[in-house]
């Protein structure tokens, strides 16, 4: 598979009046053509900052890329000027945001918002752009697109606005689509429709998608590969099956055991992760997750763990994978998942 995006050692900081906040502290990942990578994390994990940095949408100041490279199709985006990025945004890289009401211009007709990119990047005439816009609205499943193209965002429902956002993002058939919590604000049934739509379009256009979310159910639904972020770093990455059925990092264990499964009964207590994510104005020495980690060892408080290899596609940054580390028992909920994994592997293998 061809590599589309390589993020190497990315570090992003913000100058606030409380001090320097290191929001992204060394992120590495690759994205291949046509695949979906889900970046999962909770608030403060740095997932949104990472995705916005790829598009160079972070205001600088107060933000600053203090280290790293973002190689898109071989070219490093980090040194590019805003003007150079404008040629890429909307054309090669599209973005969908969480709140369609604030990401659509309320005073501009929806059709025009789609046409803007087409006219600018593909030099289409207004007439051709309008035809293409109607086609796109139809593609994303909006009924009566010829009428809808002349309407304003407030005349669309929440789900339809999100579809319109997808139309705008995909107008120029970009190679990469960054979707930042696109369904978090939607009802479950609308969310399901939008996810189905995105997968359908991805197949048609062969777009690679970076899907940012905190909802593990959605990840299981859309992702080929997953990167789990905590306190500005990726702490585990693997295929979707590896992450859900054979996770290795205690934080991933914590996430998976803190959710009730449909077959869990009321008697089993949910395993909560104590405390809250750390304050990134003063990132801790050692593993940032250590203070909340039931499985923490002394070394977790002294040195940050490197990425340990579990398989060619699966890596986790935890000292538990060091040869000298004791063998530990993951939580019940995780053990049940691992049982499925081994039987899966046997079935496939």
């Amino acid at each position: 598979m061809e590599k589309l995006l390589e993020v190497k050692d990315l570090e992003v900081s913000f100058q606030t009046y409380a001090g320097e906040v290191k929001a992204v502290r060394g992120v590495n990942f690759d994205l291949y053509k046509g695949e979906t990578l889900a970046i999962v994390g909770e608030s403060g994990s740095g997932k949104s900052v990472t995705s916005q940095t790829i598009m160079k949408l972070i205001p600088m100041p107060p933000g600053k890329i203090t280290n790293g490279q973002i190689l898109f199709d071989g070219e490093d985006l980090v040194p590019k000027t805003d003007k150079e990025m404008e040629k890429i945004r909307g054309k090669d890289i599209g973005m969908i945001f969480q709140d369609p009401m604030t990401s659509l211009n309320p005073t501009m007709k929806v059709g025009m918002q789609i046409m803007e990119g087409l006219i600018k990047h593909q030099n289409m005439s207004k007439g051709n752009a309008k035809d293409r816009a109607i086609e796109l609205l139809r593609l994303v499943g909006i009924p009566s697109p010829e009428k809808r193209v002349n309407q304003y965002p407030h005349e669309f429902s929440g789900g339809m606005r999100q579809r319109a956002m997808i139309a705008i993002a995909l107008a120029s058939s970009p190679k990469l689509l960054i979707a930042d919590e696109p369904t978090t604000a939607l009802d479950v049934t609308i969310q399901a429709q939008i996810l189905e739509l995105m997968k359908e379009l991805q197949k048609k256009l062969e777009t690679a998608i970076i899907f940012i979310t905190h909802d593990l159910g959605v990840v299981a639904n859309v992702a080929d590969r997953v990167a789990v972020m905590y306190a500005g770093k990726i702490i585990e990455t693997g295929t979707v099956d590896e992450i859900f059925y054979n996770p290795k990092h205690p934080y991933t264990w914590g996430l998976l055991s803190s959710m009730p499964s449909l077959d869990s009964d009321e008697k089993t207590e949910l395993m909560a992760i104590p405390g809250s994510p750390p304050d990134l104005t003063n990132p801790p020495q050692g593993d940032a997750f250590a203070p909340r980690n039931h499985y923490a060892m002394k070394i977790d408080f002294e040195m940050e763990p490197p990425m340990f290899k579990v398989s060619d596609t699966h890596y986790a940054a935890t000292w538990l994978l060091h040869p000298d580390a004791p063998k530990v028992d993951p939580p019940e909920a995780v053990k049940r998942r691992m049982k499925n994994f081994s039987s899966e592997k046997l079935r496939k293998g």
Partner: protein, 315 residues
């Protein structure tokens, strides 16, 4: 818990209606005639998508809104209607509420101690200042926070901690019944478990009864004994939590359950979503649609005709 105590009705909601902008062109029938009971010691979950009226139901029960029609009975007494200040205050002590937004549910200008002690202050539940602070410290520890937190301000806490402060505030007046209005929706996944575990612990220790309003169906199923599903201001299904998930009868419930993504890639690869269209019922204008019992303890909103069909299919 013996059968008798378990089956005692604490809250009875009878044909409750809540309409906004009545008699105006933009009238909204947020709650349109719902009837159900909440038994002492149980957790009743109320689920539905945005606009179904579940939050409005909660707020009407606790009398933040005056009901447009119908009745709410607490231990047999009518909650609405003309009441003296004393009578209203009595209800305040029996029913409390936990809110959704940890950032908006605490007064940013008050210390944590004052926030938690507000109920104590209003109802005069402390003998003196020392007693008041002791109660506050005790409540902080009950919800898993430290005594030192009492003099701090809300903005210094994380979302999960703020929700726990909100729970401490509700507990201060020693209520019997707590309405939790989407208490975990705004929290991170790993923090949701903290709050849910706390609520379960408190229920066991203090014999509380909960109405748990949420849209996260997996969490609702975990914490609830029974679940009601709302759709456009009406209850379409009401059953034991397990029964609802294993045997959803109403097509809306089936569609809702089939749309939830679960953290299980295999399940996701094979999941088929069912689409719901309210027109599929084909109700005629004067056909009566009410909640009828299809299986023991399992009620579904249906017409006479559908009742017969469901009974055949599911009993």
């Amino acid at each position: 818990m013996n059968e008798m105590a378990e089956k005692q009705k604490l809250v009875e909601i009878i044909n409750l209606k809540q309409y906004f902008n009545v008699d105006k062109p933009n009238m909204v029938k947020a709650v349109d005639g719902i009837t159900f009971d909440i038994y002492k010691g149980e957790t009743l979950g109320l689920v539905g998508e945005s606009g179904c009226g579940k939050s409005t139901t909660g707020r009407t029960i606790i009398r933040l809104y005056n009901a447009t029609g119908g009745k709410v009975l607490f231990n047999g007494e009518d909650v609405h209607g003309k009441k003296s200040k004393k009578e209203l205050k009595k209800f305040n002590r029996k029913m409390q509420m936990i809110f959704q937004d940890p950032y908006a549910s605490l007064n940013p200008r008050m210390t944590v101690a004052d926030i938690i002690a507000e109920g104590i202050d209003i109802h005069g539940l402390a003998k003196n200042n020392k007693d008041r602070m002791e109660q506050v410290y005790s409540l902080l520890e009950t919800v898993g926070l430290n005594r030192e937190h009492a003099n701090r301000y809300p903005h210094e806490f994380s979302g999960g901690q703020r929700q726990r402060i909100g729970i401490a505030r509700a507990l201060a007046v020693k209520p019997e019944f707590i309405i939790a209005d989407e208490p975990i929706s705004a929290l991170d996944v790993s923090i949701q478990a903290q709050v849910v575990n706390l609520l379960k612990k408190l229920q066991k220790e203090k014999g509380l009864t909960y109405l748990f309003i949420a849209h996260d169906l997996s969490m609702v199923k975990y914490i609830s004994d029974r679940i009601g599903v709302m759709y456009f201001g009406k209850i379409v299904e009401l059953a034991n939590a397990d029964d609802l998930y294993q045997n959803p009868i109403h097509p809306y419930t089936q569609s809702l359950l089939s749309a939830i993504p679960l953290p299980d890639p295999d399940y996701e690869r094979n999941r088929k979503r069912k689409v719901y269209d309210p027109r599929e019922h084909g109700y005629s204008r004067d056909e009566e649609v009410t909640l009828r019992e299809i299986r023991p303890g399992h009620l579904v909103a249906c017409s006479e005709k559908e009742y017969k069909e469901y009974k055949e299919q599911y009993s």
